[in-house]
Amino acid sequence: MAAVTQTATGVDVDTDAVVIRASLVDSDRFAVIYDRYAAMLYRYAYQRVGPEIADDVVAEAFLAAFRGRASYDLDRQDARPWLFGILTREMATHRRREQARYRAMARSAHDIVQDGPADQVAARVAAGAARGPLAAALAGLAPGDRDVLLLVAWGQLSYDEVADALNIPQGTVGSRLNRARRKVRQALGDDHGGTR
């Protein structure tokens, strides 16, 4: 039974690099990359630029990835950092809009209605209280710093992966992240310090 299961799920176990390489001659194969990462990229774009343009930036990012697939470094098995890098560049054209969105959230933070299971509500109230200051802090970050911070916090990328995605040295990732976190902590009143 185990063997059967393995066979059944083994159909699509090619690494991203293998799929992208195959898509050079059979472009339909690139659909696999979409299906693997669409949800992840959509969530991230939705969080940053909002529902109105998340669709656009995700579609454009995948098409840009498709068009640029010949330049994909085949030594990288995992395409996630590459895709997040492309998505980041697509979203950069909406920077003002993203900033305006955070500012609007900072103003309307007190309107949030909390509803749901008690423990979740408690967590959300804590986050909700932080919402205004956080949104204001994000609006005030330098674009490069915000990219690094959110790729880590929302995109769940490691430092190495962020360096890869943004094509910047790891040291730069570290310094941008430190600077961004310092501002976030200041916004939160400095009582959320330290490491997690």
């Binding site: 001659v25 979409y34 969530r43 939705y46 330049s71 959110l150 929302w154």
Partner: protein, 385 residues
């Protein structure tokens, strides 16, 4: 105490969409955008950055997938003779006479012929009509075999000033029509076959019968083709590995790329002054050779100026008496990748890649041929003179 990052994560979670997947339209849009454009790569505009993009899937699979066996009899039938075997040029000097002209001389004579050709009257809103015949070998990915299409009669209408929409009609089982988006007000669709569904990008008009950005001075044209070559490097796959995908790529030299670019200019701009400059410029590219008894796609035998690299011999074919330009052939040639630098992927944001799906072409096999029958000026795309 919770860290700033976990508070930020919670904030992020509160902004996340209710549904996991993006709307179905997004997938549809991406899949539609990924559809391959139709072939006719040579008429795709020079758009920095986007070419690799589209071409790698398309001509890669169409024109460049090209590589493989010509059904030998097919061309011979219309050619009335076999294509010159490899090394055939060496045997040409059997008849005692003055030494035959070298490559540079052939090109000089061709330039003189072009210079002596009267320019036609052409208004900016008219079209250049090009009547030609094409032979192309294609590899069928699904079936695994190579077929040769053609010779197919091909009629092309190109905007005289480059700003109006052109058209290509190629005969076949059912005639294939390809719309060519003109460069109107500096904007042009990114693909040639779906102008309505792909974004427009900035462009510079490419006139078919006026001086445009292609210089009419040989030295400047030469500099131009090398600039194009540098900006748009070309990689060629070195043949399939066990999985049927390219084992790697080699980069064409700047000289080869410049030579290919000249063949493209000859196809796209027929102004005598441009053609003259192109022939003179080709004569200054290192490594050009002369080859006799070369047959074009229409079966005419002439003399060719060739340049060979990465398993393909590019041939500019001329009438051996008048030195009128007859057409362009791409023929399989010996390819030894051992001396070349092979990379696994082209790994560049720009340029083009040619992927050979089947085995590398054998020496002498036709990859692509295009023979020019005649040109004329007409008022509308689709109108025959």
């Amino acid at each position: 105490m919770r860290s700033d990052l976990s508070v930020l994560e919670e904030f992020g979670a509160s902004l996340a969409p209710a549904q996991d997947q993006p709307p179905a339209e997004v997938r549809h849009r991406v899949m539609n955008g990924m559809r391959l454009p139709v072939r006719r790569q040579r008429l795709l505009s020079r758009l920095s950055g986007v070419r690799l993009a589209w071409r790698i899937g398309a001509p890669a699979v169409a024109a460049a997938a090209v590589t493989a066996a010509l059904v030998a009899g097919q061309l011979s039938d219309i050619a009335g003779g076999k294509p010159a075997p490899p090394g055939g040029a060496a045997r040409a000097g059997a008849v005692p006479q003055a030494p035959p002209p070298g490559a540079e001389q052939v090109l000089l004579l061709a330039a003189q012929h072009a210079a002596a050709s009267p320019a036609m009257d052409a208004g900016p809103n008219q079209f250049l009509f090009i009547d030609s015949v094409e032979v192309e070998s294609r590899f069928d990915r699904k079936g695994g075999g190579t077929t040769v299409s053609g010779p197919l009669r091909t009629r092309t209408w190109l905007s005289v000033d480059g700003t109006r929409d052109g058209l290509v009609i190629q005969d076949g089982g059912s005639p294939a029509r390809t719309h060519l988006d003109g460069c109107t007000n500096g904007r042009q669709a990114q693909t040639i076959d779906r102008p309505e569904s792909t974004p427009e990008v900035a462009c510079t008009p490419e006139p078919a019968y006026r001086p445009g950005r292609v210089p009419t001075d040989a030295a400047r044209l030469l500099a131009y083709v090398y600039a194009v070559a540098a900006a748009e490097p070309t990689w060629v796959s070195i043949g399939p590995g066990p999985d049927g995908l390219p084992r790697g790529y080699v980069r064409l030299s700047a000289d080869q790329r410049a030579f290919v670019e000249i063949a493209e200019i000859l196809y796209k701009n027929h102004l005598p002054a441009v053609q003259e400059a192109a022939f003179r410029a080709a004569g200054r590219i290192a490594g050009v050779q002369v080859r006799r008894n070369v047959t074009d796609a229409a079966g005419r035998v002439g003399v060719a100026v060739t340049r060979t690299e990465a398993g393909a011999r590019e041939e500019l074919v001329f009438d051996a008496t008048s030195y009128r330009y007859l057409g362009h052939n791409i023929i399989g040639a010996e390819f030894d990748p051992r001396g070349a630098t092979v990379v696994r992927s082209p790994n560049s944001d720009k340029g083009t890649a040619q992927i050979r799906l089947g085995p590398n072409p054998k020496p002498g096999e036709v990859i692509y041929e295009s023979a020019l029958l005649r040109i004329a000026i007409v008022d509308k795309a689709g109108l025959r003179p």
